[in-house]
Every structure is written in C-alpha cells, then in structure tokens.
Symmetry: C2
Amino acid sequence: MGQEQAFAALAAQLWARFTQSPSDRDLHGRSESHFAPMPPDAVAYPESTHEVAAIARICAAHGVPMIGWGAGTSLEGHALAPQGGLSVDFSRMARVMDVRPEDMLAVVQPGLTREALNTELRATGLFFPVDPGANASLGGMAATRASGTTAVRYGTMRSNVLALEVVLADGRIIRTGTAAPKSSAGYDLTGLFVGAEGTLGLITELTLRLQGQPEAVSAAICAFPDMTSAVETVIATIQSGIPMARIEFVDGESARAFNAYAGRDLPLTPHLLVEFHGSEAGVKEQAERFGDLVADFGGAGFQWAHRSEDRAALWKLRHNAYYAVRALRPEAAPITTDVCVPISNLARAVEETAADIAASGIPGPMLGHVGDGNFHALLLPDPAIPGDWDRAKALAGRMAERALRLGGTVSGEHGIGMGKQGYMQAEHGEAWDVMGQIKRALDPDNLMNPGKLLRQN
Amino acid sequence: MGQEQAFAALAAQLWARFTQSPSDRDLHGRSESHFAPMPPDAVAYPESTHEVAAIARICAAHGVPMIGWGAGTSLEGHALAPQGGLSVDFSRMARVMDVRPEDMLAVVQPGLTREALNTELRATGLFFPVDPGANASLGGMAATRASGTTAVRYGTMRSNVLALEVVLADGRIIRTGTAAPKSSAGYDLTGLFVGAEGTLGLITELTLRLQGQPEAVSAAICAFPDMTSAVETVIATIQSGIPMARIEFVDGESARAFNAYAGRDLPLTPHLLVEFHGSEAGVKEQAERFGDLVADFGGAGFQWAHRSEDRAALWKLRHNAYYAVRALRPEAAPITTDVCVPISNLARAVEETAADIAASGIPGPMLGHVGDGNFHALLLPDPAIPGDWDRAKALAGRMAERALRLGGTVSGEHGIGMGKQGYMQAEHGEAWDVMGQIKRALDPDNLMNPGKLLRQN
Ligand SMILES: Cc1cc2nc3c(=O)[nH]c(=O)nc-3n(C[C@H](O)[C@H](O)[C@H](O)COP(=O)(O)OP(=O)(O)OC[C@H]3O[C@@H](n4cnc5c(N)ncnc54)[C@H](O)[C@@H]3O)c2cc1C
Ligand SMILES: Cc1cc2nc3c(=O)[nH]c(=O)nc-3n(C[C@H](O)[C@H](O)[C@H](O)COP(=O)(O)OP(=O)(O)OC[C@H]3O[C@@H](n4cnc5c(N)ncnc54)[C@H](O)[C@@H]3O)c2cc1C
C-alpha cells in the first residue's frame, strides 16, 4: 500500500514527530462545529519548511492526502480528513522569525497564534489587527481568509498578508510577494493562497502587516429597542465615514445567552458593541458622532469601557458568543451561518433572516461584524427532534440564497470547507470551475486538503 | 489560414467595428515607451460583454491572439502585439453602469477612464482614488495593478477592485467577487485577474470601491538641501503614522525638467509634493506634524496650495513629469524603471541608485511615490550614442537587482509586460513557473496577450 510506505518514510524522517496514535488522530479529526469526526490516518509535527517539503514529497510519491492543521478552530470542517491521509500540524512551527518595526511588518511561522503574536509585539507599540475571536493560528487564518471584529477598520487577512512561503503539492517551496508595500510584478499568488483553505499548498511562513497601537482607545456597549434601529444605526455610522475600529451587532437572544454564560444583566434586546481608535481628540470626536447617531435611532444605555480591563471584559463577552450561544441548547448540533451583504441591504438581510428564523421554531441567535455587512445566525437544531436538522439546514440554505439575491456572498469570513460547497455553484457559476482548473494545475492528484472548497466529482 | 477565417467571422459579427486599416493597426502597435512598433493584424471595438465573448470564441477557434487595449498608456509594451493577432479596444465600452453611494461603489465598463469616472462622480461626494497620473482606462489599470500618487493612503487597484466580469480565452463569461465588502467563499479570482495584464482573460466590467471626498484638502511643495534629507523626511513621516494622502519625491534633475516644461522656478534640489485629506482640524494637525518633520530634516520653502486650482496645477506638474523629463533629451529612447522597497531601505535604495546613475553618465532623473517605497528613474539613453542604450539597460538591471537585494520588487506599479520579464526569475524563482501553470490552465493555447509577463519558451 502506498500509504504504508509513505508512513514508513515519514516515521524515518520525523521520528516521534510522526504518529498514528489514536489520540492524535482523534484530536485532528474533530472540529468546533457539527461535523462527525473524520480523523486522519496519521499526524505529522514538522519543525521547519524543509521538513514540510520532505513530507509533501513523500506524500506526493505515494498519493497520500495532506491536510494542514493550525488551531483547529475553523467552522466548516476545513481541517477534517474525509479521505484520511496525513494531518500536518503546525504547532511546532510557531515562532516569530522577525519583527521590523520600521517597516511595520512581522515574519512568522504559520502555527503561531494571533494572541501569541500580539503578546510578542506588545513592547514594539505595534499590533496585528485581524481578530477572529478564537485564538486561531496565523496559517489557518490566512488559509480561511479570516477577519472578525476589526476588519471594518483594518481589513481581512487578504489585505494584511504581504508575502508567503508555501510548500506545493509536489514538495516545491515557493515564495510569493515581498516585504515592499506593493508590487505589480506578476500574478498575485499571495492573494491566491490566502483563502485557498490549504487546497493549493501548505503555508510555511507569513509576512504580515502590522499597525501602530492607537494613542487612545475607547469602547462601549449600548442597547436598542429593536433590531431595525440597531442595524439602521450601523448603516448610518458606516455611511457617515466614522472610522470605527469595531462595530458588532448582537440580537436579544444573544444578549440572553451572554447573561447566562457570563453573569451579565443586559436587557434582552439588540445591542451594538463598538470600539474607537485614534488620537485622544479623535476618539472623543468619533464617540460623540456615534453617540448622536445612536440617539437618533433610539438607542440608549451606553456602558463605556475606558479602562483596558473593562475593554478586555467586553470583548471577551463577544468572543465567547459562540460558546455562550451553544450553551443555550447544549444538545444541539450547531450550524454556523456567515453571510455578508452590501451595507445598503444589511437591514433587509437581517430582518428577513430574523423573521425566517422566528417562523422556523429553531433557536438561532444572530450576531455579526455588521460594519462589513457580515452576520451570523447560530442555528441550534436538536438532533433528537425529528425534522429539526433538516429545517435548520433549509433555513441556512435560505440565508445563503438571500445573501446572493441581495448582492452578497455565502461566506463573509469562515470559508467553504465541507459545509458550504453546496452554495458555491449559486455564488460563482462557471467561476467555480475556474477554481477547479487552478486546483488541478497546481495539485493534479488532489492531495492538498481533498474534499474541501472545490466541486467534488 | 485560421486568422483569415477568424477575421471574416469577426467582420460579419462586428461590421465596421472590426478593422484591418493601417491607421488603426498602427495606433494599436505603439506605446509611450521605447518599444519598437508591434502592430496587431486587426482591431476590434466591441460594445458589450457578449461581443467580447463572441470575439474570444472566434479567436479561440482559429488560434488568433487577443490583446486588450485600454488607453495605451502602459509603459512596458503591455498592449503591443509582438505575435500579431487582434487588439480588442475597449473605448466603446466606457460607461458607468451603476453608482451606489450607500455602498460606496461604482460598476463600470473597462474602457472608462479614471478621469471620466471622477467627473461623473463629482455630484455624489465620492471619488475613485487610484491615480496613475496618466488618464488610463480602469480596465487597463486593473490589468496592470496600477497605483500612483494616492496609493499610500487609499491602496492600489488590488484593494480597490471588489468584483470583475471577465471573458476567458475560450469565450466563457465569469463573474468574480460580489458587491459585499469581503468574502471567504473560495479562491480570490478577482485578485488573480487584477495584475494579470490581460494574459488570463479580458475584463468586461469592474465593481470599484469609492471613497468619500474629504471635508478638507491641502497640498504643498517643499524643497530639501539634498536627497538624503528629503528621503529621511519621508521615512519619518510614514513611520510616525501621519495619514498622508500623497507624498511624492522628485530629485533636482526632475525639478529642472519641471521648470523647463512648465515655466516654474523651483530650486534645482530635491522636493517633496504632499497632500493631506481629512477634517479641517485633522488636515491642519497633519500639516503641522509634517511641517515639523520637514524642518527637522532641513527642508524649507513651503509653497502651500490651499485653493483647488493651485492643487490642480501642482498635481498637473507632477503628472506631466514623464513628459517633462523626456523633453530634457527628446532624442532618447526612454527606459522607465519602477522599483519598490521596504520603507526602511528606501534611503539606501535611492542613494545607491543616484550614485550609480551619476557614475553612468546617462541622464536619469528620479522621482516616485516614496510613501510606498516606490520610485522611478527615467533613464534617457540616446540611441545615436554608441553604448548608451546598453549602459542604460545595465543600469536598469542593477536597479532591479538592488531592489531585490533590499527586500523589494522589480515593479511597484507599472507591471512586467515585455520589458521586465528578464527580472522575473530573480524575483520569483519557482513561483514564476507557478504563474505559468495557472496561465496554461486557463489559456492552454496562449491566446490572451501572448509574449507578456510569463516565461517565454
Ligand atoms: C468561537 C469561534 C469564533 C470564531 N470567530 C471567527 C471570526 O470572527 N472571524 C473568522 O474569520 N473566523 C472565526 N472563527 C473561525 C476560525 O477561527 C477561523 O476560520 C480561523 O481562521 C481558523 O484558524 P485555525 O488556525 O484554527 O485553522 P484550522 O481550523 O486549523 O484550519 C483551517 C483551514 O486552514 C488550513 N490550514 C491550517 N494551517 C495551514 C497552513 N499552514 N497552510 C495551509 N493551510 C492551512 C486547514 O487545512 C483548514 O483548511 C471562529 C471560530 C470559533 C471557534
Ligand atoms: C505619463 C505616465 C505616467 C504614468 N504614471 C503611472 C503611475 O503613477 N502609476 C502607475 O501604476 N502607472 C503609471 N503609468 C502607466 C500606465 O498609466 C498604467 O500602466 C495604466 O494602468 C495603463 O492603463 P491603460 O488603460 O493605458 O492600459 P493599456 O496600456 O491600454 O493596457 C495595459 C495592459 O492592460 C491590458 N488591458 C487593457 N484593458 C484590458 C481589459 N479590459 N481586460 C484585460 N486586459 C486589459 C492590456 O492588454 C495591457 O496588457 C503612467 C504612464 C504614463 C504614460
């Protein structure tokens, strides 16, 4: 068997850092989401780019699938092994290789988490802004084109990755991009690997843009009488050009989940959580302009978080939303949705979705990075209730269709993995085939994370 | 002959909008740069996406090269027809299809120029920021991943194109991206076609991000005693986080060219040309902070342009730099260079280049979008002087090597075309082959702008 020979070669190459132990396989076969476990046949823990290239050459020679593993927090079964093969776990490639404050960039290994990077950066006055809440790895974040709470101000991984080192399916090591701020020298391969979900190659190094820590930061939470007023406030805020650092929506059900999970006593109505970055004067001015808009739309009950501990508590609340919401119905098999629409259609998208969820009888708290037009309903079907799962799937499908009808996308930030392939034809049409042509050109044997993102035939 | 059959079919399809007239061919075989004329065998003027698709199907069936033509201002022979074939001129596809102020985006046809777009946008309070100086077409700008004076603040075409419609080599019409601000739904095909120089497909529609017109704008020019002080001012300005809207460097030779071309009397020393965008108070604060830095580095002689006519005159001066510099030696065959380095290496790159040019004896005024680390020397070898051309080529080669050695790129914004293929191996290594693999996957018969960007074999 090809796989057995490959595993023998990998064991010879990696010693104890290659394993077929049931516990390692089990760990790399699970996700945070509803997917049934799909363990790989083995797990490798490379420590260098050259080891990753050696792994790829061995796997390529024997036809063994390679699935990158960062922190395993992706939500669409991205890192599972539906066709078995080798999970390539980057946890031992987690170093900061270089920080260049004058160029506002850092060179890191893919297994480094965003929190670890920001801890290392603290003394430099710089930070890496992309914040998906979960303490994801930077390689995984690049692979899913992650974003999160701060993308409204600082952009997604698309705009914050300057250069990559990638190991291709045949073991070739390439570099894409440079440390210069821009380039017109050829195809944008960096942009191609960002968001490719590990289906085109394994990222072994990233050059990331950093931001200067703002002189002043201020955050707040405020309540709204209803969903429409909260969403209209967001739209007016974005259109008025206030440079929000964060502007997050949570609905009344999510507020209920926060109260239960974190011992808060928020009113059970929609809220916005916001943050301002700038000079002292700038933050003050932004906060005042925002406050005026909130008042115009009937919002109230501002709680300001001026001290950094208070801000940390506020964003912890938000970042734990996924777990807080799941705790509302622990027996549920959660389905995360992740639509994103043009801001002019945000109110309509949110309202129609809320009505659809209410009519379905499935619990589905809603929240999102609404400054980008991106929101989630976390649907909580109970597998023990007949029809619940199918109703939730249909609901998620209607959300995706609605997003497309309103000019948007079926995934604002989580990606496609194994969970959203069913919507790709509707979103992309023949462009999905073009993705397949690129995939076949770079990975003709379909060894890089097979079964994800692309059309399966 | 395949081409004859194709041309008969095209004539039947397009009537008078297909032509083999010598004047049309001649016009589409010339560039602004030093390349010898390379006319296409025919020119088509499509009026719709469906016509472009029909053209592609006909050309594909008969093996005829297709070369997109926007405004013909590209500098590396991008739009020439070294292998003959059909020039597809987009001047009759130049409409604004839709402006959506609430979403801050516009949908345009590729032949529209950036000036025409901004004229149409005037009443909306919005503008399209990317400014390569030349009145290029938006399709051509996307194809070359253009940037220019404002990229330091608003980004390049990479970050300002949200979605595309593209006709592929086989005539398929695809759409990439959506009108939503972000997406993680599959490979970033938009990013792949932006910068592909028409080698992967013909862009037939673009969805562009717009910006709000700033409340206040102020611009200025100031002089420096030497190159080092000017460049150090730029580095300090960028590192201090002042959100410059424009920060342009010109050397003493360029100042001399400006004086001659535009009747100015600038001192014959290096200058910076800058612009600030923001609120009244913000612009004032930015200008003061910048003024302090200028003074620290010995700059002086600020001339402020507060009125919009004065600003227009200032930027006209800059935008005509190419022609002003060429007029220094009209008999020269100009070689444009376009390197871009990390900002920390900018001073070194500029100084080493200046010394190299001085030693060569070739006139080569330098100027650039230095806030991005991007600068040009316009080398002016005289074909009548033996050895001049070769010396200039060698100089350009050393500039490219220097940029790479300093962590940068051989093209910050102009692209590769036929002029910079010789540096691609050094910059990209095997990644250049990966570009070739993608090219072959999407255009196996090499009909889309053959002879450009990719390795020729
Ligand atoms: C509570 C919670 C909140 C979340 N909130 C957000 C949010 O706000 N925004 C957001 O964008 N996402 C969010 N997510 C999803 C998740 O955090 C992101 O998808 C994240 O980018 C995944 O990173 P990871 O390191 O966990 O990747 P993994 O799950 O390990 O892998 C993700 C994908 O990347 C591939 N991969 C991993 N490493 C590499 C590599 N080095 N080279 C190539 N491919 C690789 C894997 O094969 C897989 O396809 C959330 C998740 C949770 C659990
Ligand atoms: C005076 C002067 C100053 C300049 N300054 C700058 C600057 O500051 N920054 C900068 O970036 N550039 C600059 N340039 C270069 C030039 O303006 C840019 O490269 C511009 O993007 C070219 O646009 P165009 O419409 O003229 O394209 P063209 O020259 O017509 O074509 C350029 C390339 O795009 C392809 N193409 C054109 N239309 C399409 C389409 N619809 N679909 C697919 N491919 C297409 C062509 O085949 C060709 O490969 C300058 C040029 C001049 C003459």
